[in-house]
Symmetry: D2
Subunit: 448 residues, 4 copies
Amino acid sequence: MFGIWGHDKAAEITYYGLHALQHRGQEGAGIVISNGRTLQIHKDEGLLNDVFNRSHFQELKGRASVGNIHYVTNGNGGVENIQPHLFHSQTGSMALAHIGNIMNRDELRGQLESEGSIFQSETDTELLAHLIKKNGQKINEQSITNALQQLVGAYAFVILTEEKMYVALDPHGIRPLSIGKLHDAIVVSSETCAFDIIGATYEREVRPGELLIISRDGMKSTRFALREQRRLCAMEYVYFSRPDSDLNEVNVHTARKRMGIELAKEAPVDADVVTGVPDSSISAAIGYAEQCGLPYEMGLIKNRYVGRTFIQPTQELREQGVKMKLSPVRGIVEGKRVVMIDDSIIRGTTSMRIVRMLKEAGAKEVHVRIASPPAKNPCFYGIDMSTREELIAANRTVEEIANLICADSLAFLTPEGMEKAIVQQTTLNQGVCQACFTGQYPVKKNRK
Amino acid sequence: MFGIWGHDKAAEITYYGLHALQHRGQEGAGIVISNGRTLQIHKDEGLLNDVFNRSHFQELKGRASVGNIHYVTNGNGGVENIQPHLFHSQTGSMALAHIGNIMNRDELRGQLESEGSIFQSETDTELLAHLIKKNGQKINEQSITNALQQLVGAYAFVILTEEKMYVALDPHGIRPLSIGKLHDAIVVSSETCAFDIIGATYEREVRPGELLIISRDGMKSTRFALREQRRLCAMEYVYFSRPDSDLNEVNVHTARKRMGIELAKEAPVDADVVTGVPDSSISAAIGYAEQCGLPYEMGLIKNRYVGRTFIQPTQELREQGVKMKLSPVRGIVEGKRVVMIDDSIIRGTTSMRIVRMLKEAGAKEVHVRIASPPAKNPCFYGIDMSTREELIAANRTVEEIANLICADSLAFLTPEGMEKAIVQQTTLNQGVCQACFTGQYPVKKNRK
Amino acid sequence: MFGIWGHDKAAEITYYGLHALQHRGQEGAGIVISNGRTLQIHKDEGLLNDVFNRSHFQELKGRASVGNIHYVTNGNGGVENIQPHLFHSQTGSMALAHIGNIMNRDELRGQLESEGSIFQSETDTELLAHLIKKNGQKINEQSITNALQQLVGAYAFVILTEEKMYVALDPHGIRPLSIGKLHDAIVVSSETCAFDIIGATYEREVRPGELLIISRDGMKSTRFALREQRRLCAMEYVYFSRPDSDLNEVNVHTARKRMGIELAKEAPVDADVVTGVPDSSISAAIGYAEQCGLPYEMGLIKNRYVGRTFIQPTQELREQGVKMKLSPVRGIVEGKRVVMIDDSIIRGTTSMRIVRMLKEAGAKEVHVRIASPPAKNPCFYGIDMSTREELIAANRTVEEIANLICADSLAFLTPEGMEKAIVQQTTLNQGVCQACFTGQYPVKKNRK
Amino acid sequence: MFGIWGHDKAAEITYYGLHALQHRGQEGAGIVISNGRTLQIHKDEGLLNDVFNRSHFQELKGRASVGNIHYVTNGNGGVENIQPHLFHSQTGSMALAHIGNIMNRDELRGQLESEGSIFQSETDTELLAHLIKKNGQKINEQSITNALQQLVGAYAFVILTEEKMYVALDPHGIRPLSIGKLHDAIVVSSETCAFDIIGATYEREVRPGELLIISRDGMKSTRFALREQRRLCAMEYVYFSRPDSDLNEVNVHTARKRMGIELAKEAPVDADVVTGVPDSSISAAIGYAEQCGLPYEMGLIKNRYVGRTFIQPTQELREQGVKMKLSPVRGIVEGKRVVMIDDSIIRGTTSMRIVRMLKEAGAKEVHVRIASPPAKNPCFYGIDMSTREELIAANRTVEEIANLICADSLAFLTPEGMEKAIVQQTTLNQGVCQACFTGQYPVKKNRK
């Protein structure tokens, strides 16, 4: 999610900003722009580069813009679910973009429907739009505040009208959202890497429970919920964000490297080389190797050109050994005791495949070290993890998992080690949400 | 607009049916299908062939389907305006497709918005959906009847739910809508040419003010408005429909040919050959030639391959004589006195270009005969004609127009001649809407 | 095939010219341009509109150009067979485009190969290029004349070098090729309809056995073969060319209409309406109707939107009556005795389908009249007709064919009628090649 | 370049093999397959995934296949230059694929042309095909050997006929080419990473001056040139090959890491962090860091989604700071003394941009270390380096270059260091070609 207020090239800047966020989803993208009088939209399924071409930017003219990258979860495919959503009324228009998950969606929607509302998508943005317009209210600070106060969940919203941009973050700050400046323009982004790509400077994080109103009069901060301790999603550090982003002022690469260091302290192993699963586990692998004094090597290579139009090998060819995304580097692992660092284990199938791949390439031993705790619980806050039944760690001991993935040994980082690696780096009042590891959910559905 | 109920290949049949209706719009297409439990949709911008490929039909499985071809008027471009529209609620879904125009749209919408409704498109289908769901009502015969009774305008609707298909036509029958049978399945279509392409047989017209409810129990007919005299849009006969369609049981080619015959009676001319502007004026030209005893010739050829990806010639090349869609046939018109039959004159620019083209190709005289009366009034019922300011006939005499388009003579069919050509062919209780010619509007905005 | 010499927008003009020739093939297109120093090419598979976009014309700059439309015969698909072909040598380049067929291809090629030539395509253009360059000769009037004199067949060639354009037609003029002027530029085209679309004026036909050399010094005419009577392919008149083209100064529509008139004289029938199979049989149907005094009606409609991306109905749906390209007009044929005019019968399957379609739509009788003689012999001159085994007329009487296609009666135009309809219209020394009808081949393979 | 002999899925295997080689070129791809009787081809411009879709493999059936990835150098764009090339003759067909550069191309071609040969491309494959067929020879060991003996340069060829596959490597082994086995099938590939992706095992390198003939009778090795010391291109190790490939049995990642180690020994620096330019300089950076005892960090991140359809920022936006491919990681470099490892400096513009980027992101000092010697000389063997004029190191001292790129210090690896890093790892009789660094060219144009 990316927004900008007050720049002549607002749509282009949004395009470049979204480029930096492309790793967060590949299923669709959209941009809405305001020229002060009307809102215009373009969105479609596909990568940003498929959705936009030069001609779109000859039409999307204005000084305020909001864009989004679509990340499909739970079968929410289809162009009608791609954000931003644009709503029209005789008194003005409103575009909404959103990341996260509203937990009391069904109750709110049932109530709205019984009062006559109709829905065209499954999105939380459409839900919020209805809540704002309920009873025919105007779109303003008051109606948005009222609407936000009815939501339970983890979310970040950007709302664009002809004249204002509203930015909101859930009361626990579970989803990330940062504010930057680009000359006189104000920018918001899910990750700071989007600031770097456009040459903007970081200002601060949006605060938990904060509602920002950005307009010709500048940026005004209000609060729609009591301030609680920030509990940013740990998975953002583990694998979701880009290593060059800072989340709550902690650099992601650095956090990952420190997770690797903590992991090495907690679970060292006698081995010859350390390797990481590209791309998200490289930082942890470097940290692990540094701490252990073992050489870090590129034992696994990712095939950069396996895109969506790649023709998947048939079962027959896969059985004959045709690989796809990852290849082991025989020259590095042959005859070696290898420590393979991965960022997490969800279902375990990928880990199993990689261990086998390394052994087929000649690795004598493969010791798996996971730079996060065992994921045992589902996420209700918008990260697409498996259901509890599919989580390999949900009902198994570490030994059982090691067995299943054919590793010579296996160890996970502890929640304490993760806390140490992330939280101790920042001066903000911050914890992290480790609910998927610990089962301690900061927000409960029936909170009230 | 096309719908089918009760066929195993409902989506494919809808695809072929829409093919026959492609001439009604080229900007988008969509199909919704019901499998009895859920509704599925696919729609996009472009020609039918661009929007659908074989893989879509592996997913669109069910026995009831509604589809639409998108015809852009008044800047209602954008995928969000393409029909059918699909709405979800916790008690069931509903797809709507529509042709025509609701005249009290703004009042109805303003009232809905003041009660909290929000809109994502400019379509009348979204408006009807809100009217049906107002106050949280169920989607059934009662709520649909109530909603239809609030509409003022010219329209045809098909509504598909998981379990039923509803079909409605405005109280004056201004827009066309026919019912057919394909084995045990019931089909509805804006034009009967869609029945022919799929091998269905024509049953009857939907009656003005009729609401049909089609379900497992068969087809039930109800009435939501008093029956008035049918007033089908004359422009459907003049140029909008395909010549192989029957509208209100009058074949379009035959009606056009008779318009040509009437025109020849009213405005004969001493000439050598008769030619028509392809494709829609060919029938009238044949009739005119037959009546006059003059040879009908192909004096103008349409370039079939000028599609949307055609590179338009620059102004410079156009001035050098590069033509695009139409070419005159020198061998036919050279040295001849040519009668050029066209179906209508709207802005007059095309007519002017064709007259010049024929003269450059050697025509000695060009006599223009228009197989409809002068169009002087805007259409409020869904045909995209120009505003009054742009209508060349609005404030000009026939001589002035002849002068403007450089014709050696010009004549129009009279409203009486048109009435004779169309209405006298049918046994149905039928008049035609000639409002754009005569200014006598059958439906007024403030009817009530 | 289209070429232009001496125009600043040579590539664009070629593009528009090829547009007028698109009906001659849909499988590929290419354009080569000379800027006086180098030749540039762009070609690909697909319709002209698929192959070229605006950006290509920003690169194809020059004042001389040759283009071609690819017509697949005998499995010569693949981009390597699309013309023009471009050949490079250290002393200059040469592009060749061609229509027709070289009958002694195999002998010439075998001889060239035994001398070390290698081939990358199956095209006659590549063969001619080798013949020209044989023994390392320069590309000039002499080497081209020598090469042409070795060819046996029916052909038209355009050769473009950096500095000259060469145009050649086979000694019998079996394939069509016309010369026009566009201001100071010289244009050549397979059909004159390309002149009309670009605003060029017709000058004359290329003569049988003529070699034109066009350069900065103007156009020079030489002769590489004895002049024989022109024998233009009758099939060009029957269905291959566009009705607005003039071939050997005879308008195609007019020739077709006269074939219809002759056919009506030879084989009248007592009926109610005359209809033609669109598009190529419409002219003959008009002529037939005029001569008989019967009304001409549009009893069959072609679906304009069945393109290459159209999803063909499955066998199951076809059996259920789903039609594709052609629909009968029930309102016109129901209860009528119909004369159905077609331009030719090759395999008979289409005719059979149309007769059945008309009867299913209610026609009481269907009398088939074919505006050309029975096609009994294969074409060796470049028209893709069936082999003798597949030609329905090859071994059958007219009655047997009538039976096979379920027609109530059937008659063909006689060769004499066709001769009368075409040849008597022109002052050129012209016959037509009717070899496919009569078996009298003007060029034999072993001529020498 | 990739070839396979003796596998039922030869075309698919070639597709996956070429995927592993996609980094060697992105401009086009092609595959030819032999089914024992005929050769079939598909090739086009674009990435492998753009060129091939599933339907192609339903047509490309056979047990032997050769494919190539197109790498554009010196404006050899256009589909006619994409390999393999396919040549037909009445006695059989031949497909050729090639990497490298023939130095006496112009002389050979001039001679061939003077004898009547014509060329359709600029490729060395077409040249070799002519040499083989010269004087109408058959395609066999003898004619291929004769042809190869006329070539001067650096090259690897795969030639496929209906019945045999021929594989040849230049007399100095400048270009890489390895042999592997996949069950009973023989595979050849420019890099061994293609063996890993398809599950093949490495057998041996093709020897300098070796011609392999692979047929139903197995693999036969012959020699067309005296064996000289192998002189594999150093640039293959420096940046061209994938890190998981082994070249002459030396792993590329390991070689690069050792270059980093040697560089650290030769040119250490007092700093805080070491970072590498992704992707090709990461290995050297890790080696440098390890040797120096400094932490290796990801100070630069590559945007994976900047593809060919990416809309490049305008000059105006670039000046405002919009970045494209690379972003610095502020959290890592801010306030630090950074060693930036790059694999090579060619024109110096990229280095300059990266140094500035790092400083803008807060780096206190930027010390550039290049893991190869200064590139001062053009490559005549097929690597697309700049001309001598553009090579920043051609006429400048190290200090001058450091100044130009704004580095606080700059050092290059010595040729001796590079030799040590690469050659000492292998037991093969191997040197490396360092001509671009040292000016000592192993092959001269006028060798004979």
